[in-house]
């Protein structure tokens, strides 16, 4: 007995040292992960800040000649990303319209019928869809919409490819959120004679609102930066356009264009800075919504 006790006390010193070492290891790991993030944001801010002004948001991208003139005199490049901004907003709006309602409904359906074969099949489908590379979704939207419906590159095609990307994200986050609602809440609603559909939209959806909204916002922030599928669908456009049957630009498409034009390099930084800040605030918004309307 005493031997065990001394062995234990002997060990305490060693265990404490291991503890301390491990803690430093964890801190070091955290620092190493965080450094690149600061470097990215820092260099974007330093290089991109100069270009951000009112015109950056209100004017479409400059043509290469304007940019060349500015670059040669060292002025800031005229024009901005308004065509990309409006295109992105248009497509994200349409994609949300296409993806959010069916995504929520499918998620609820899978949750409600989780023991049924068909529901399980849909869930695996969503899982697979989530793993499909986005460029392939672009090709699918190209074949469906660009070839057959709008007969040319279009905002509609871009929206469809983004919607297909959002769909599995929303389905899965919805299902997982619903899973967290205690059965007793559902039963309480049923015990009051609540019809099924009303239980869903007056109890399940409001109770899990924060989880649902978080899922949607994260899906939005995910598609906001998506570039590859848009190259095959929305193509890009130098002008501001709200015609869904015509090509439109998008912020990530503009970044790609700027990158390919040696005269517009500084716009790459500012557009990237903007996109990053936008997506980041979306994530922060998701967090604050999640904590504010948390019931479960």
């Amino acid at each position: 007995m005493t031997e065990i006790n001394t062995a234990l006390t002997d060990n305490i010193g060693r265990r404490n040292r291991t503890n301390v070492r491990f803690r430093y290891l964890v801190i070091a790991g955290a620092v190493i992960t965080v450094i690149p993030i600061f470097l990215i944001v820092g260099s974007l801010a330093i290089k991109g800040f100069r270009q951000i002004n009112l015109a950056f948001f209100t004017q479409p991208a400059p043509d290469t000649f304007q940019a060349m003139m500015a670059a040669s005199t060292g002025d800031i490049i005229p024009g901005g990303i308004a065509n990309g901004l409006t295109g992105s907003l248009l497509m994200v709006f349409l994609a949300s319209l296409f993806a959010i309602p069916p995504g929520l409904m499918t998620g609820i359906y899978i949750y409600e019928n989780s023991s049924q074969k068909y529901a399980r099949f849909i869930r695996s489908l969503a899982e697979i869809l989530q793993g499909v590379p986005s460029i392939i979704l672009g090709i699918i939207a190209y074949i469906w919409i660009v070839k057959n419906i709008t007969k040319g590159y279009s905002a509609l095609a871009g929206s469809v490819s983004l919607a297909i990307m959002m769909l599995p994200l929303i389905i899965r986050s919805t299902e997982e959120t619903m899973r967290m609602i205690p059965v007793s809440i559902r039963e309480a609603a049923f015990a009051l004679g609540t019809p099924y559909y009303k239980m869903i939209y007056k109890i399940l959806i409001p109770v899990s609102f924060s989880g649902l909204a978080t899922g949607v916002l994260l899906a939005l922030s995910r598609i906001l930066g998506e570039t590859a599928p848009l190259m095959l669908t929305a193509l890009g456009s130098p002008a501001i356009s709200f015609d869904i049957t015509k090509p439109v630009s998008a912020v990530p498409l503009l970044i790609w264009d700027f990158y390919n034009d040696p005269n517009m390099v500084s716009l790459v930084w500012s557009a990237s800075l903007f996109l990053m800040v936008f997506v980041l605030s979306m994530n922060l918004l998701a967090r604050s919504v999640a904590s504010k309307h948390k019931y479960i």
Partner: protein, 258 residues
């Protein structure tokens, strides 16, 4: 509707059997009745089928398609299976083991949830009246009248449970089903609920599942004792406690099992 059932028995359970899995009966051939304006306690060891029996009375089992029910239950002489489930649940309210106010609703909204969830519209003044009455009936009014518009989940466990009773009686049901409503509460909150049930007896008929024999003895008029899915014995609570007919009842009451 015949006269005796109209006056005496609100509920008549006839040869009721319920199976969660085919062939395995959690409730087996139960025949019993519940008198108007009384408290009937259902007792028995854990797993004997008390909750299963209780949940049959408002057809809660229909939420789970695998559950099989045989036999019949009459409410005021009419089979509950011939009523619309919404009508039935308006007449038969339920209070659960754990307080479960709707977390997205305020105290006020919780009390009138039965109306709003069924699209029953009414004037604000009428709603206010229902809320105040229901909360007064469960002796919660004075505690919450200043915070009607706060979420119901901010209340203490005992207050939440009284809120759940208020939610059930706001609908003015005939029968109130209570599944161990005090098992998650401390002794003082338990006493409050018990007093409340004694008071509510004037207006409603109650069926109370309880683990707690002294609770059954304190507040119930009639008792049923269940064992392994069967109704072993039922009768006036006083009689059943003092002179049980079945040896299993006696064994349970003397603490030999359960």
């Amino acid at each position: 509707m015949n006269n005796t059932s109209q006056n005496d028995n609100v509920l008549e359970i006839k040869d009721l059997s319920i199976a969660y899995e085919p062939g395995k009966y959690a409730v087996n051939g139960v025949t019993a009745s519940v008198k108007r304006n009384s408290i009937t306690a259902i007792m028995g060891p854990s797993g004997c089928g008390k909750s299963t029996l209780l949940r049959a009375i408002n057809r809660m089992h229909e939420l789970y398609p695998d559950i099989q029910t045989k036999g019949d239950i009459l409410l005021d002489g009419q089979s509950i299976f011939s009523m619309s489930v919404i009508e039935l649940r308006r007449k038969v309210g339920m209070v659960f083991q754990r307080p479960n106010p709707f977390p997205n609703m305020t105290i006020y909204e919780n009390v009138v949830a039965g109306f709003s969830l069924n699209d029953i519209r009414m004037k604000k003044s009428r709603r206010d009246e229902i809320v105040e009455n229901a909360l007064r009936n469960v002796t919660l009014w004075d505690e919450v009248k200043e915070s009607l518009y706060r979420k119901g989940t901010f209340l203490s466990g005992g207050q939440q449970q009284r809120l759940c009773v208020a939610r059930a009686i706001a609908f003015n049901p005939e029968v109130l089903l209570l599944d161990e409503p005090t098992s998650a509460l401390d002794p003082i909150a338990t006493l409050k609920i018990e007093d409340l049930l004694g008071e509510l007896k004037k207006k409603y008929t109650m069926v109370l599942v309880t683990h707690n024999m002294s609770q059954a003895a304190r507040i119930s008029d009639d008792s049923m004792f269940m064992y392994l899915g069967e109704l072993v014995e039922s009768g006036r609570t006083g009689t059943l406690f003092t002179t049980p007919k079945d040896p299993r009842t006696e064994a349970y009451l003397t603490g030999k099992f359960g």
